[in-house]
Structure formats: C-alpha cells, structure tokens
C-alpha cells in the first residue's frame, strides 16, 4: 500500500517539477522574497528589529496569496484531468485503490510545494544569513514561515482535490479553482472586514468572528504568523485582530491542520464514488 502511494507520489513530483506554472511560481516566490530582503531594508534599523524578521513578516503576506494559488494549480487537475485524459480508468483498473491514488497525489504535490517554498524562501534566508544580516531568531522565523506555508498549501491542496473530484473536465476544475482562490483569499477577508466596519458583527454573537477567521486556512495562517512574529504594529491590516483574539495562536495552526484533514477525507470519499 505504502509502495503504491509512494509510486504515485514520485510520479507527481516528477510531473510537478516539469510544470511550467510551478516553476514560474517558484521564481516569483524567490524574486519577491529577494527583492523584499534586499530593497526593503530601510525600516529595519530604527525599529531595532532583525532584518530577517521584517522580511518574514512581509513574506507571510505574500504567502497568503501565492501559496494557495500554487496549491490549487497543482491540485485542480488531480481527478478531473485524469478523467479527461482517460488515465483514471487505467489507474483504477490497476491494483491501486482510490484512497491510495488520492493520497499518493497529495504526498507528491505536498513535496512539490515544499520544494517550491524551500527554494523560493530558503534562498533569501541563506543569502541574509551568509551576509551576516540575520540572527538565529530570524532563521527560526524563516523556518516557521516555510513550515506554516506548506501547511497552508496542504489545506488548499485538499480544497483543490474536492473541486477536482466534483467535475469531469479539467477546464471546469480550473475555473472552480480560480473562484475558490478569489473567494477564500480575497473576498472572504473583504466580507469580514465589511462586517466589522459596518458594525454588523456586534449584532452577531461575539464568538462568530474569530471562528470565521479560524475556519479559513488563509486567515488562520495570517493570524498565526503575525502573532508569532509579534509584529502586529509593524505590518498592520488584519494584524490588529491578532492581539485581541480570545485563543492561543497555536489554535490557528491546529485549525488549518484540521480543515486540511477534514477536506482531504471529503475528497477521498468523493473519489470513491467517481465513475471514471
């Protein structure tokens, strides 16, 4: 069983590394983080904050947009694309089980994502470190950013699989993925912000707002990273919320993980019912 999962994962890793979009996204990650690190040095001095930490704070905001995009880009094709190409018939008529199929894809895509983040962000970390700009704490910040970004990616991989398993055409799945990205990464925050500003949130139960933030992996990711950096005054935006949260930031991390796990289970259930 493990052998077959790893076989599928290894193939996905190979395909992912040859995917132009993924390569492009890695370049963007690397480009942005390098640019932030090299150009954005001005505010570091007077505030007395480690330059690496500043860079990480900015990169966390970048991750919220880019990581879900990369994950959805990897995941949307997983089921619908295989149906489209007729290869799902082939795969599922081999000894591979449906759960093994999806888990294998997930492991493979997770590796691609980790690799992409490791290269994209790791390069900057290494550069700052070697130029003597960083301290140990800054390096840890970078590691945390990469770690939580992969977790965020996992949640969006799972979301991508659910979308991919709900349609039969790769093109439809791609459209759904774009809608999901817009809705969860952009519109969700806007809607919450709108509620907050309009004061409608007061009329809701006060616990609804934090729960709403926790349920969306993108927001949970932002909360955790900003809280962990202690940089709320530095970055602004949603960061103000982080201080007044009625729960430990680690809960945000746990929330991403549980959303990812639950969504992945849903995707496996959906794949079980597919007629290839």
């Amino acid at each position: 069983m493990l052998g077959r999962i790893l076989t599928v994962a290894a193939l996905e890793l190979r395909i992912g590394m040859r995917n132009r979009w993924i390569v492009l996204a890695t370049f963007i990650l690397a480009g942005f983080s390098l640019a932030l690190a090299l150009l954005g040095s001005a505010p570091a001095g007077p505030l007395g904050i480690d330059r690496m930490t500043v860079t990480v704070a900015s990169l966390a905001s970048l991750s919220v947009y880019l990581v879900p995009l990369i994950a959805l880009l990897l995941a949307f094709d997983a089921v619908a694309g295989e149906i489209d190409r007729g290869t799902l018939l082939l795969l599922l008529s081999s000894p591979l089980s449906r759960a093994e199929f999806l888990l294998g894809k997930c492991v493979g895509h997770f590796c691609v994502l980790s690799l992409s983040l490791g290269i994209g962000y790791g390069l900057t970390a290494a550069l700052l470190w070697s130029s003597g700009e960083g301290e140990m704490a800054g390096l840890l910040d970078f590691a945390r950013l990469i770690g939580t970004s992969t977790l965020l990616g996992l949640a969006f991989l799972a979301i991508g699989y659910v979308l991919s398993a709900s349609v039969r055409q790769a093109s439809t799945a791609a459209a759904l993925a774009i809608v999901a990205w817009l809705a969860l990464v952009v519109l969700y925050d806007l809607a919450l912000l709108g509620l907050l500003v309009s004061g409608a949130v007061d009329s809701l139960s006060p616990s609804v707002f934090p729960v709403a933030l926790l349920l969306n992996p993108a927001d949970a990711f932002r909360l955790f990273n900003l809280a962990a950096l202690g940089a709320s005054d530095l970055v602004g935006g949603m960061a103000g919320v982080a201080d007044s949260l009625p729960f430990a930031p680690e809960l945000a991390l746990a929330s991403i993980l549980s959303v990812a796990a639950a969504t992945l289970c849903l995707a496996v259930l959906m794949v079980r019912r597919i007629v290839p």
């Binding site: 052998g3 077959r4 076989t7 599928v8 193939l11 190979r14 395909i15 040859r18 995917n19 190409r85 007729g86 290869t87 018939l89 082939l90 795969l91 599922l92 008529s93 081999s94 000894p95 591979l96 089980s97 007629v275 290839p276």
Partner: protein, 310 residues
C-alpha cells in the same frame, strides 16, 4: 476450469435508455476474442462493467471467479482504454516504469515491452513528441505488463498503420499463448479475421452473434454473387439462358448459395464463347458483419438467442 470471464444476463441502462440488454458470454483461458459493434453499441460500457466501474442493473459478472473491481480481479486484469492520453511531459520509459510499479512488477523487465511494441528508440523522449500510433503502442505496452490473466483492450488498433496492426496481433497471439485471455473490441470484422478465435457482435446493446468466423459465415447464409461478362450482342442470350439479372449493358449477375455454386459454374462454362469473363464474389466480411448488425434492429430477441453459444 473457471472461465476467465463470465458475463451472465447483464442489463444496464442510462437515464432509462437500455444500453446493454441481456448480454451473456463466457471466455475460456487462452482464448482470443473480438468484440465487434457499431459506434454506441455498448462496447466501452461493457468493459467498464467488467472492470467494476459500472454496476449492471441485473445479471452477474465474474472475472476469474472474482467480483469485478475487487482487488483480486484488478490484480488479474489488464486494460487499455479507448482514448488514453498520458501526461505529455513524461517519457515512455517513465510511464512504463510507473505502471510496472503499480502492478508490482519489476520496472526493468517491463521496459522490454517497449521493445516489443517498437518504441525502444523513443523510450526516453517526452510523450508530447509521440505520434498518435506511438501513443497507442505505449498504451498497449502498458497493458501487457506482468502476466495478466485477462487482457481487455478497447479499440487497441485504432490509429495504427497496417504493419503495426500486424505486429500488434502477433503480440496478442504471444500473450494468449502464455495463457492470457484477450478480449479486444473493434469496428471492423475484416481486421480481426484470422487473428481471433471467436467473434462476439454487439448491436444496439444486444449480443447478436457469438461464434467462430467460419460458423458466422455459414449462419449468415449470404449468397455468392457471380458476375458473367458477355458481349453486347450476346448479353441478352446469356441472361435468358442463365436466368440472371442484366447489369450495365454487357454483364449478367447471378446469386447462388454455396451448395449451388459448382452447378452454376458448370452452366456458365457450358455457354462457351458467349461468355468473355467471370467474377466470383464470396460474401465479404463486411457483408457478414452487416447481416448480424442488422438483426438487432429488425428482429430483436429471436435472432439474438439463435446465434448464441458456439
């Protein structure tokens, strides 16, 4: 001996449209069987039921004694879908190694299959650069990995040139000689002639024929056509003496059964100089195929049961 595949009284409908109607047949180990049928006859649907992807509305299917789709059945079957397109940015060798690992076979050994389908030279090229026939042959190589007991091939020769086609059937023969049962679908009877042991004809979801080609020919009882060419002046006389039908001014066409054939030929020979030439047309395979295909649409149940069971 358990049959390699046993399909008994299977029905299947989509949106209340009956697609497969009371189909029954059994394949013995080592048999090569062709499943023929027009577009939309239900060949692919039948394959999907044998693989366990679709459940029959009623009836039973057993793959080497196992339930379709069960792990035991999947481990013993190999399949080539009708339209399969592997990831374009993989190489042929990568695809074969991948499927070999999934099937628990040694990847290195499986790579020799690329040789057998004539892809050795292209093994390390990306599939995006493959021609249609090359992709099809890669699919075949994939289906022959390991030692499957039952090989299901949905239109395996579509897109292959005549030489590749011959190579393909030679490969099928080798596989069957090793004990595998091969069920392959096709559109043309001419193609599977002499390369398969038995022929199943599916028409509008019904199994209208299940027999060897020779028996099918006999059962169809199609007439032999004799075309006698005479001169412009003699054609009337020839027509009146042979009792055939005049065509295009100087020929006479006669129909006869195989039993009458020799007698008819003797009659024609006796005409001597009146006859210039003679063509004998045995019914073509396409004629035989059309004959059986038509049964389902004209006379449903009776014909279907008549030609069942060789």
């Amino acid at each position: 001996m358990t049959p390699a595949l046993c399909v008994a009284g299977v029905d299947r409908s989509f949106d209340r449209r009956a697609i497969i109607r009371d189909v029954s047949f059994a394949l013995q180990p080592g048999e090569r069987v062709a499943l023929l049928g027009h577009n939309g006859a239900g060949k692919t649907t039948l394959f999907k039921m044998i693989l366990g992807f679709l459940d029959p509305d009623c009836g039973e299917i057993a793959v080497l004694g196992h339930r379709p789709g069960s792990r035991a059945a999947r481990c013993a079957t190999a399949f080539l879908p009708e339209a399969v397109a592997f990831q374009k940015n993989l190489t042929g060798a990568e695809v074969i190694r991948f499927y070999a690992r999934l099937k628990g076979e040694a990847p290195r050994k499986a790579l020799s299959l690329l040789d057998r389908v004539g892809l050795a030279e292209a093994a390390d090229r990306r599939l995006g650069t493959y021609s249609k026939g090359m992709r099809q042959r890669l699919g075949l190589a994939q289906a022959l990995i390991g030692r499957p007991g039952l090989v299901l091939l949905d239109e395996p020769t579509s897109g292959l040139d005549p030489i590749s086609r011959q190579d393909f059937y030679a490969l099928v023969e080798e596989v069957a000689a090793e004990g595998a049962t091969v069920l392959l679908s096709s559109h043309a009877l001419t193609e599977v002639e002499a390369r398969t042991d038995r022929i199943l004809i599916l028409s509008a979801g019904q199994m209208v024929a299940d027999d060897t080609l020779a028996n099918l020919r006999r059962a169809a009882g199609l007439p032999i056509r004799l075309k006698v060419r005479a001169g412009e002046e003699t054609v009337t006389e020839v027509a009146s003496r042979l009792g055939g039908e005049r065509v295009n001014g100087r020929s006479v066409e006669l129909l006869c059964t195989p039993a009458e054939k020799i007698g008819r030929l003797a009659q024609i020979a006796a005409l001597g100089d009146l006859v210039q030439d003679l063509d004998v047309h045995d019914p073509s395979l396409d004629d035989v195929y059309r004959h059986f295909s038509r049964i389902a649409t004209t006379d449903t149940g009776r014909a279907a049961s008549q030609h069942k069971g060789a």
